[in-house]
């Protein structure tokens, strides 16, 4: 009996970072908090290592590295190494017992979703911070494609930058602590981010929600100007900026594409009042649970209505500007206020 390498999110929490990578551990933690996240499961680092061992890809990579150890200091060689190693990984088939187990989880996922045919997102979940984007595949349908995309996510741990980074730090080239998240795609009406702090000034008395029609990737990537709602945590007062949103990201038969937003909804807010309130309510709860401002990603499903159609796909500590000068100005402001009776 080989070691367990597939986990439902409810089996995980933030302590499982090394086991399944940061994203999966985080989704597990969110599930535990009672947040609605799309149903899905995690592939552990163990799964990756077993694949590398059983297919022989690991040995091929080690051999390649041994043969080229001196030339690998050269950047051009690193580009070639990235291509070669990804080629080695992607040309492998999933060992049958692993494949069958993956199929079983995928089938159960369909049952959990209550649908015969589902689309999933296959996302990388690194256990350590590593520069260079690892791949994420959206709108993956059919079990064979899921298996293929999992292998491709594993391959994506070998970008040129990641190779250069590992060489520089003296880390072994053939190892990559990488997990994978497989989760049901939400049929997004609109999506976006919420931060429980104004990141530019570090004002923690406000929540800022940004969103666009379609999938959240358009907001995260910063390619469009989304709607923005700034909500006062205490009073609930909303300062709302609805922008003209001309582009959005939607599913195609397979994968996603940028497309035009229908003219009649371009200038309309992409969340209604009730949805906004719910997003803010949960964001504040999560913030107070972690006792730290949060940066979260939300999705509203086309079907169903609020709050059942609100899903969360990310929650992490917010990074926000608290530069020395900002702190100093803030202190100066606090001191000034003191003189007001």
């Amino acid at each position: 009996m080989s070691k367990k390498w597939l986990y439902w999110f409810e089996e995980l929490n933030s302590g499982h970072n090394d086991l399944v990578g940061k994203k999966c551990a985080n989704l597990g933690e969110m599930t535990g908090l009672g947040m609605r996240i799309p149903p899905g499961f995690a592939i552990s680092v163990e799964g990756y290592e077993r694949f590398m061992a059983e297919t022989g890809a690991g040995e091929l990579i080690r051999q390649y590295v041994r043969d080229n150890v001196n030339e690998l200091k050269n950047v051009r060689k690193q580009v070639e190494a990235s291509r070669t190693i990804r080629q080695i990984i992607e040309s492998q088939e999933m060992p049958p017992d692993m494949r069958d187990e993956l199929y079983r989880y995928y089938e159960e996922l369909k049952q959990r979703a209550g649908e015969d045919e589902i689309a999933v997102a296959v996302r990388s979940s690194g256990a350590v911070s590593m520069p260079g984007q690892m791949e994420t595949y959206l709108n993956v349908r059919r079990k064979e494609s899921v298996v293929r995309k999992v292998i491709e996510v594993w391959g994506s741990a070998f970008t040129t930058r990641a190779i250069a980074f590992r060489l520089e730090k003296g880390m072994p080239l053939d190892k990559a602590p990488i997990g994978v998240a497989v989760l049901k795609m939400v049929d997004a009406k609109s999506a976006g981010v919420v931060l429980t702090v104004l990141p530019t000034v570090g004002d923690t008395s406000k929540v800022v929600v940004e969103g666009n029609w379609g999938l959240g990737e358009s907001v995260v990537s910063g390619e469009i100007t989304p709607d923005q709602y700034i909500v006062d945590k205490e009073s609930g007062c909303v300062e709302c900026t609805v922008n003209k949103k001309t582009k959005m990201i939607v599913y195609k038969d397979s994968g996603t594409a940028m497309t035009d937003v229908p003219g009649d909804i371009q200038a309309k807010p992409c969340v209604d009042e009730k949805e906004l309130k719910e997003i803010v309510r949960i964001a504040k709860e999560v913030e107070s649970y972690f006792n730290c401002p949060q940066d979260m990603e939300w999705v509203l499903d086309c079907s169903g209505c609020c709050p059942e159609n609100l899903y969360w796909v990310q929650a992490r500590p917010a990074k926000y500007s608290k530069t020395k000068e900002k702190e100093a100005e803030y202190l100066a402001e606090l001191m000034t206020r003191m003189f007001k009776s």
């Binding site: 730290c292 608290k322 003191m338 003189f339 007001k340 009776s341």
Partner: protein, 560 residues
């Protein structure tokens, strides 16, 4: 014809000055016992200048500094309030920018000023007052006046800025961590730092160890204060000891026996008070270890910092910690500024004035060199170059007569216009939101708690409980009366009192706030301090057993 009248703006003139302000408060911390006229002139003119300079440079939104008057040897102050709402707003906008240097580079700011002042003192000291010409002496006196003026500018600019940060920290501790400035943990937060005054104490302690090693302990312990110097001179070891001790005095002994006055010798002139401190360290015994004591307090502080930070929400910790560091500097500043500013400048004033005083005596203008402290600077200027041409003794005779009278009856705590009472006056002080008034001069009012059945109620300056024999000390020249384990009772304390804190078990002061000397030093030595009891020196008699419970702000007289 009268010899002189009230000098407007210097001496108190009820008719005019009550029209300006209905309430003038006695500065009990600095002007009890009464000042000599010359020292009063320096203080009234330049402390006033410095406070207005500091308030203006920082553009304090609610207050423009203080005005001062001299009345029967007492310094009386009143606040200059910002009157219109519009002006407050304008000043607020300026203040927001003006306070930034304190937040951004406190050490650089303070260090720069210290360097500037030390440079000025070096120049003043470069003149050999015995060999100098009269013109050079008078020049030196004028430069001393300028130095005093500059000292007060730095003093008040720094003090206003520093204490503003401290008050904000107190508020934020209360708001974010639920810790109030009467809580022991708050006091632990702001103690355990090294500063110049402690470094001097440490040197004194080291000299006490040396005296013991070299067999001089007996000589010191068995001599009265006035005999110590003479007895040490009798042995070779004693003379070697004194040689090193005097070179230490020349470095760090530029301080006055009484902080805010120039009519008592500095340590450089007469090292007796410093030697008494050495003697007191010897009496504490060989096991006493100043470093160990200080280390304990530092560890307590680090513990308190952790506790408080853990109560502050994580996203607020960045600025909070920065504010904490700034507030911690207030304690260091409070002690160090006395050393580098007040004490040193006053030592320079005494040195320069006595240089001229001696010439005046040689040429018959005065009977005694110290009589010069009964002259005003204009009178000194008049006779400075040709003292043989002037007889100033009639001025001294009259003022000295008055001064001796002032000593007999204490000055009232406030001069109030008819129909105006002390409560109303306190209201004005609080309304000013003046950081110095709140943190040093006035403090918070004690809470009277009848259920405690205490004899005196005060506020907590430093936490703890202690019981011992009361020792009422009214001025610095009585400090040698203090014995190991006493509870010190005083109107207030100043840096000259610091060394006795290692001997006593507790402190009761009539007036004080959380940044007063007694509170800061009490915290550093880890002994309880109860402040603002108002009538401690009046109600408690030396020799009585008293219990001090600073946590409750209560004093119990055990044998009434």
């Amino acid at each position: 014809m009268k010899v002189y009248d009230v000098v407007p703006g210097l001496e108190f003139d009820a008719e005019r000055d009550f029209a300006q302000s209905p309430a003038w408060f006695l500065d009990g911390t600095h002007s009890v016992p009464p000042w000599t006229p010359m020292f009063g002139w320096f203080w009234v003119n330049f402390c006033r200048h410095g406070m207005q300079y500091g308030a203006e440079k920082l553009s304090l939104p609610t207050v423009k500094g203080w005005d001062w008057r001299f009345h029967k040897g007492g310094g009386y102050l009143t606040l200059l309030l910002v009157k219109s709402e519009e002006e407050k707003q304008r000043r607020e906008a300026e203040f927001r920018k003006a306070i930034l240097p304190f937040i951004e580079d406190y050490d650089g700011l303070w260090g720069g000023f210290v360097k500037e002042m030390l440079g000025r003192y070096e120049k003043l000291k470069a003149l050999d007052v015995e060999k100098a010409s009269n013109i050079e002496l008078l020049d030196n006196f004028e430069e001393t006046i300028n130095t005093c003026r500059r000292m007060w500018e730095i003093h008040m600019y720094m003090m206003y800025g520093t204490y503003t940060a401290y008050i904000l920290f107190e508020n934020m501790c209360r708001e974010l961590a639920g810790i109030d400035d009467t809580s022991p943990i708050f006091h632990n937060l702001v103690s355990g730092f090294d500063n110049k005054v402690f470094q001097v104490d440490r040197r004194l302690w080291e000299f006490s160890k040396r005296a013991r090693e070299e067999g001089l302990a007996e000589t010191l312990v068995q001599s009265n204060a006035s005999e110590i110097v003479g007895r040490l001179d009798e042995s070779a070891a004693g003379r070697a000891f004194m040689k090193d001790f005097m070179s230490f005095m020349n470095e760090d002994g530029w301080r006055m026996q009484r902080m805010s006055e120039i009519n008592l010798p500095s340590w450089v002139e007469d090292p007796t008070p410093a030697l008494v401190n050495v003697k007191q360290f010897i009496q504490k015994g060989g096991n006493f270890n100043l470093d160990e004591e200080r280390k304990k307090i530092t560890e307590q502080r680090k513990e308190a910092e952790k506790t408080v930070l853990s109560k502050v929400p994580q996203e607020q910790r960045g600025w909070f910690e920065r504010l904490m560091v700034l507030a911690q500097k207030s304690g260091i500043f409070s002690e160090e500024h006395d050393h580098y500013l007040d004490l040193y400048t006053h030592a320079m004033m005494r040195r320069s004035a006595l240089g001229l005083g001696n010439r005046f005596v040689q040429k018959g203008a005065l009977d005694g060199a110290e009589d010069i402290f009964f002259l005003m600077p204009d009178e000194v200027r008049r006779a400075g170059i040709n003292p043989d041409q002037f007889d100033l003794r009639y001025l001294v005779e009259r003022r000295k007569g008055e001064w001796n009278e002032w000593m007999k009856t204490p000055n009232p705590p406030a001069l109030l216009k008819e129909g105006f009472d002390l409560d109303m006056a306190m209201g004005v002080l609080v309304q000013s939101m003046d950081p110095i008034a709140l943190k040093v001069v006035v403090g918070s009012m004690p809470q009277v708690r009848p259920e405690l059945k205490a004899d005196l109620y005060g506020t907590c300056g430093s936490p703890g409980v202690a019981e011992g024999t009361a020792r009422v000390i009214l001025s610095e020249d009585e400090l040698h009366l203090i014995e190991e384990g006493d509870i010190l009772v005083a109107a207030s304390t100043s840096p000259s009192w610091t060394p006795v804190f290692s001997m006593i078990k507790g402190v009761i002061v009539d007036r004080g706030a959380s940044l007063s000397h007694a509170a800061i030093v009490g915290r550093e030595y880890g002994i309880p301090v109860v402040m603002n009891v108002f009538e401690g020196t009046a109600k408690i008699k030396s020799g009585q057993r008293v219990k001090v419970d600073a946590n409750l702000g209560a004093v119990f007289i055990l044998d009434k």
